[in-house]
Structure formats: C-alpha cells, structure tokens
C-alpha cells in the first residue's frame, strides 16, 4: 500500500510542477501566479465602479515575509496534529501486538 501512496503523491507533484514549467519565465509582474481571490476582487472593482468596499480587515500582515510566516504556522499546526494522532494510533497498535 505504501507504494500506491507514493505513486499518488508523485502524480500530485506533477500537477503542481506542470504549471511552473508551462509558464516558466513569467511572474507576478506580468500577471501570473497571483491569487484567484485578488482576481475576483479586481473583477468586482472593474465592473462595479460605484461599489464602495465597506469593511477593511482588522489587521493585515505587514509584509509578504510575515504573511508566509503565518501560512507556515497554519500548515505546521495541522501537521503537528496529524503527526501526533497517527503516532498515537500506530503506537497503540504496536503495544497491543506486544501484549
């Protein structure tokens, strides 16, 4: 089963790398690899010039660096929980076998 999972993960890696190869050389400055959330916001602004954005975020990360820090933190929290639970389950299984 492990090999099957590794195979699936390789496909995922190809899916992620493919766009980077297809649009190689392009970057944020010429409109590539931006977020789709922002594109949605831009579309609203362009087509509804009279709409006033009526609320602003309470706090925004002061720079891209801080933002990536917080995104890492988010992923790390998730990964720690998942790692802990699998460790707990597999450890329990092993202890049961030894009895």
């Amino acid at each position: 089963m492990d090999w099957k999972n590794i195979g699936i993960l390789i496909i995922v890696a190809i899916l992620i790398v493919a766009p980077l190869i297809i649009f190689n050389g392009h970057g944020e400055d010429d409109g590539y690899f931006g977020g789709s959330d922002d594109q949605g916001g831009q579309y609203i602004e362009q087509n509804n010039p009279n709409y006033k954005v009526w609320a602003a975020p309470l706090w925004e990360p002061p720079s891209g660096e801080i933002e990536s820090l917080l995104f890492c933190l988010q992923a790390a929290i998730g990964a720690i929980i998942i790692g802990f639970i699998f460790g707990y389950w597999y450890g329990g299984k092993k202890a049961k076998k030894q009895q």
């Binding site: 992620i16 297809i22 954005v53 309470l58 720690i80």
Partner: protein, 224 residues
C-alpha cells in the same frame, strides 16, 4: 474562494451569516453526539480539522496561471457529514480572516456557506451515490474530495454573481467561474489524490473507527 473583507454588500453578508449559523449550530450538536457515543471519534475529528488547516494553507499554482488553494473539506464530510465539516471550516476561516487578512469577518458567513456547506453537501451526495454503486472507499473519497473542492468555488461564483449581477447575471456568473472554478480544476484533482492518501493511512491505522462511524463495512475493514 475567499470573498475578501468588505467585498459583499451587507444584505448578502447577513443572508449567508444566517444560513451558515443554523448549519454550524446543528453541526456542533452533531459533534457532541458523535463524541459522546464514541471516544475514538475525537482524534478523527481533530485529524479532519487539521487536514483542512494544512490544505487551505497550501497555495498551489494552476494551469490557468494563477494560484489558489485546496479546501480539505472532503475528508471530514465522509467521516462526519457536511454539518460537522461546516464547524471545522469556521476554525480555518477565522484563522485566515484574523491573522492573514484572507477572507474576512463580514464575509465569513458567505465563505462558510461555500467551503463548509455547499462543497461538503455536494461531496456527500457523491460519496453516498458512489458507495451505493459499490465503488471502493478510496476511489469514492477521491471523487468526493474533488467535487467538494470544485463546488466550493462554484458556490463562491454564485455568491458573487448574486451580489454583483451586472448587466447579465449569467455572464457575470461565467466570468466568476472563469476566475475561480477553472483555476481550481487541477487543484481539485490534487486535493482528491491527497485526501485518498491520508484516507488510506487512516484505514490502515484504525479501520475499527471507520466501521463504527459507518464509513466502511466490516468486510472492507477485514480485507485490509
């Protein structure tokens, strides 16, 4: 799929808030029931939430040339149903709205509705249908996660088209679909595959919990 802070008129914010609040309250009641009946459900619930936490932090490039992130809402849906997944989505969305300025507090209801309700409900329908057709659990979960992810973005497009219909609501909807859903297709495939991998490990580690929750039958657990 986040609708940014302030980018939804107050009336629509209120409508999505009310709908989402009802589902989330029902989800909290279901969590209480599931964990009271079954101690083992708690780690599985934490794991489903943590999976959502990780996946929604991964901004991946897509063949459309823009970036978006998967949702991770298929896993919890299969184990606990859509209402519980709505509760899990609240935690993720609050984290991102407060700390990352992704999504917002005014648009929280709308974002819960797309990521925590529409996506999971559509995924759940797919799950039930495929399991009725006797498809194996890992294959069914792939399609569940794929549909739950993609429909989340379709729902966002609907929400925005309703709020900003422009001259023609249909063409506005298609424009938002072009921005959100098209980018999402390869990512939804990636999410389906990742969900399948983690499911495989869960079924390997604790098939007994899955049997108790009615996710798989006892024969399937034994075959592992």
């Amino acid at each position: 799929m986040h609708i940014m802070e302030g980018y939804l008129p107050p009336m629509w914010c209120a409508i999505w808030f009310i709908i989402s609040a009802i589902v989330v309250i029902y989800g909290i009641m279901q969590i209480k029931k599931a964990t009271a009946e079954n101690d083992d459900a708690l780690p599985l619930l934490a794991l489903s939430g943590a999976f959502m936490f990780i996946l929604s932090s991964l901004k991946m490039p897509s063949v459309s040339g823009s970036c978006s992130h998967p949702c991770g809402n298929g896993l919890g849906t299969v184990f606990f149903g859509p209402a519980v997944t709505a509760v899990l989505s609240v935690i993720v969305l609050l984290f991102q709205a407060i700390l990352l300025a992704h999504g917002g507090l005014t648009t929280l209801g709308a974002n819960i509705f797309s990521m925590g309700i529409v996506g999971p409900v559509c995924g759940y329908v797919v799950w039930v249908a495929l399991r009725k057709m006797n498809l194996s659990a890992p294959i069914s979960i792939f399609f569940t996660a794929f549909v739950a992810d993609l429909m989340t973005y379709v729902a966002t497009s609907v929400e925005l088209a309703l709020a900003f219909p422009g001259a023609n609501m249909g063409s506005t909807f298609v424009a938002f679909l072009g921005i959100f859903a098209l980018t999402q297709i390869p990512l939804a495939i990636a999410e389906g595959l990742l969900t399948m991998v983690i499911y495989n490990y869960i079924q390997d580690a604790r098939p007994d919990i899955l049997v108790k929750l009615g996710v798989i039958s006892e024969q399937e657990a034994g075959a592992n």
